[in-house]
Symmetry: C2
Subunit: 468 residues, 2 copies
């Protein structure tokens, strides 16, 4: 498709709409916007445009819709499923110049923002007002809030506070045909028509381009406490996870990191806090938060006591803000650290929490059967396990037959445990071939019909999630 | 449309599918299933069927889809927007025989249920296991969980715990064409394809009939405390509402009841606890819950202290379980009590919480302008205000030109305050004519296209939410 695009004409039109300074077609730009953080994939587009308003995006989409030119929306390019990769060429619309926080509504505990704001910047800005926006993907220091909407991102806090979808009240969206709509209203409850807001969240930029976002905020909890619990067995660690919830606790984070991942990351990050020795197979990182520090200390003690039943080692209670920051830095650096060590293929499986031990055992068994090495880590409290796979000579799963066989076996296991393919990364390009494992054809056909209802010419992020 | 239906043939077919004992066409049945709790509307269907499985519903829908026969799904018939009213005649499918709780998964804190289970029965059943399903509409003692899904119901606990959509993980749905799908997976996080689960919640039975429901549960809080706070002015009471949240509190309920409503209900319900005197304009009912009773007592005191700034009267702290139950009984009985007193038209407006005072003032002004009397009550913490309207000689808003003029003015006010038409009741039949106030045509067209994608022949609950 890309080869047939009359690029010169397209560039002229985009320059007319957005100004020459916002249109890019040099090789460096095309290469930069031709990849995201997904494996080692590169598909340069024909042109990159950086609009500064919803109106400009509307004009671009109207033109591309009329001329059947593929359009790929892009946030910060930190995605892990290829959602921002322009594999059909055409136009990349980067939202990086829509980067303003428009209003913090302290009366109603809401924020209105453009999509190109870095998630952590948004979090810190509302934190200064005593407010809290919890969803915090590992990439929060570089990802955009708009991309978080597209993928329905999660992060460690999701276990207590929910994911992105739980905070989005209303969205301004440019439809693929160029019309601009608001999906809902800036209210906490809404039973007025179909929930287009929720349909848009997690639709991976295939149904429209989000240009304004209204988020619910909550009061910032005053205190949090953090502990690191080592286990001699990965299975025991994962069994402890569901026991914590069954006992009535709701931690504000409950993360698992396998020792192989921690070994790699602790070589990269200067640290002294985490014990790495041959008797440890995995750690749980457990946080509680709230407004009464004594209540939290009692909770931490009770959880530590409960962990004794699962052969926990010596529990480390983080002493101060610095130690907490260091532990979190380690946790957040895992994916980035293991990638250059050859673990280029990241999966985002999710199962009912109590099935984690079975999933972890199954992954290890598959590794033996198919001769790959995997490290497991992630948001254990949600049953959301990231599995980073290293297989000699195979850097990408996308388009690789051998890896596809392995992933098919993995996802069938996940399905058999009541789980699904993606908890927070999205399907994008690299997982769409596995959708048949978790959805019937009737279900996929309904999704395709929804896509056609929004995007009759299939111009917007076509070929993501499923093929039409 | 109804007049053209070959009823005898239809009845035979339904008897073949579901058995003679589950098909009803006597006058009493048709009248019973021809209304719900919405105003005083009555539209008897041609036939009522009570299937006992998703497979039977699939067969019914296949037949009706082929023969273009209108189908109206129905839960317990407690709806307030006419969602279950068969205004086109045809078939009513009652879910009352799909009434089993299928599994309580204590390992994963989930419940799998059929749609015809009474919400309170479901709540009490999981409560026996120490688990909590929070959404609790006023009608919870008689409404079905399936109807709650259809309308995305809320209730008092929504202010802390969210509404139905926040608990639905996965749904088995029979599509209007008869295909049976699962919308998602039984997991806490899911970024796998479009969020059909969330699209289905609140779609008011227009996109499919839900036959199995997987709900997330949470640990049951150990304690709750309740206070009743009287105010001399309705505006002051509603100003206090947003002040409570701005001060960092998150009550588990924050209800407002105007004195006119309370006068009526306290005559009907045997009570001594609520002061009704000429110095009181409204009450706030404020609940906090959690696992540490001392923390809760401190919170209650701090909230009561804060209320002093809003000219609160003498605050009543509920002494024991009986007094709490009595206060809640009063609150829950309001809608039922004021209806026979002539307040037959109930609105379900929702605005950003801090706009409540402006909404209440605006409602009273409209009452003077258009000569109607209104009582206000509802979930003030969510900005969700129920407005019961009494206008001599006009029992229904639906089809009444004078009431339509009034409601149009009311909803324009709501829209101007950043709000929308329905917070938890749905649009159904009686509010669809006002959708243009809150949605652009482009937005409504997308909703219509989604409806067509699911229901190409427009047989399922046609004419609800919008006309095609």
């Amino acid at each position: 498709m890309a080869a047939e695009i009359a690029t010169t004409e397209l560039i002229n039109e985009l320059q007319n709409i957005c100004g020459k300074a916002n249109v890019f077609f040099d090789e460096e730009s095309l290469n930069h916007y031709g990849h995201d953080e997904t494996e080692k994939l590169l598909y340069p587009p024909n042109v990159v445009v950086k609009p500064t308003s919803a109106q400009e995006i509307s004009s671009i989409l109207k033109y591309c819709n009329e001329h059947l030119i593929p359009v790929t929306p892009r946030g910060a390019g930190t995605g892990l499923s290829g959602g921002a990769i322009p594999q059909n060429g055409g136009v990349v619309i980067s939202t990086e110049k829509l980067n303003k926080i428009l209003e913090i509504d302290e009366r109603n505990l809401q924020v209105i923002t453009e999509p190109g704001v870095i998630t952590e910047v948004l979090q810190n800005t509302v934190k200064d007002k005593g407010l809290f926006y919890p969803p915090d993907p590992a990439s929060r220091g570089s990802c955009f809030i708009g991309g978080n909407i597209a993928e329905n991102s999660g992060g460690p806090k999701a276990v207590k506070y929910g994911v992105v979808k739980d905070y989005v009240l209303n969205l301004e969206v440019v439809l693929p045909t160029g019309e601009i709509i608001w999906t809902g209203a800036n209210v906490l409850k809404n039973s007025t028509g179909y929930n287009l807001t929720q349909l848009m969240v997690g639709s991976e930029g295939t149904l429209g381009i989000v240009t304004k976002i209204v988020l619910k905020l909550i009061p910032l909890p005053k205190y949090d406490l953090l502990m690191l619990a080592p286990f001699a067995s990965l299975e025991k660690a994962s069994e402890a996870v569901s026991a914590i919830f069954r006992a009535g606790f709701t931690p504000s984070a409950l993360e698992l990191v396998e020792i192989d991942a921690l070994k790699i990351v602790s070589q990269m990050v200067d640290t002294y806090v985490v014990p790495v020795n041959e008797n440890i197979a995995a750690h749980l990182l457990i946080e509680v938060d709230g407004n009464d520090v004594n209540v939290l200390m009692n909770e931490m003690e009770a959880i530590a006591e409960l962990l004794q039943q699962y052969d926990v080692g010596e529990v480390l209670f983080a002493d101060d803000a610095q130690q907490k920051a260091e532990l979190w830095k380690l946790r957040r650096a895992v994916a980035e650290a293991v990638k250059p060590a050859g673990y280029t293929i990241e999966e985002d499986t999710v199962v009912p929490r109590a099935e984690l031990p079975a999933l972890i055992k199954g992954v290890k068994d598959l590794g033996k059967q198919y001769n790959f090495h995997a490290v497991c880590y992630g948001h254990a409290g949600d049953g959301n396990l990231h599995i980073r796979i290293k297989k000699e000579g195979i850097p990408n799963s996308y388009g690789n037959e051998e890896m596809n066989t392995i992933l098919r076996a993995l996802f069938k296991l996940v399905k058999s445990l009541g789980g699904t393919i993606s908890g927070e990364h999205g399907i994008g390009l690299i997982q769409k071939d596995f959708m048949d494992i978790v959805f019937d054809e009737a279900n996929l056909n309904i999704m395709r019909a929804i896509k056609k209802a929004f995007d009759p010419n299939n111009i917007l992020n076509a070929g993501k999630i499923f093929d039409l």
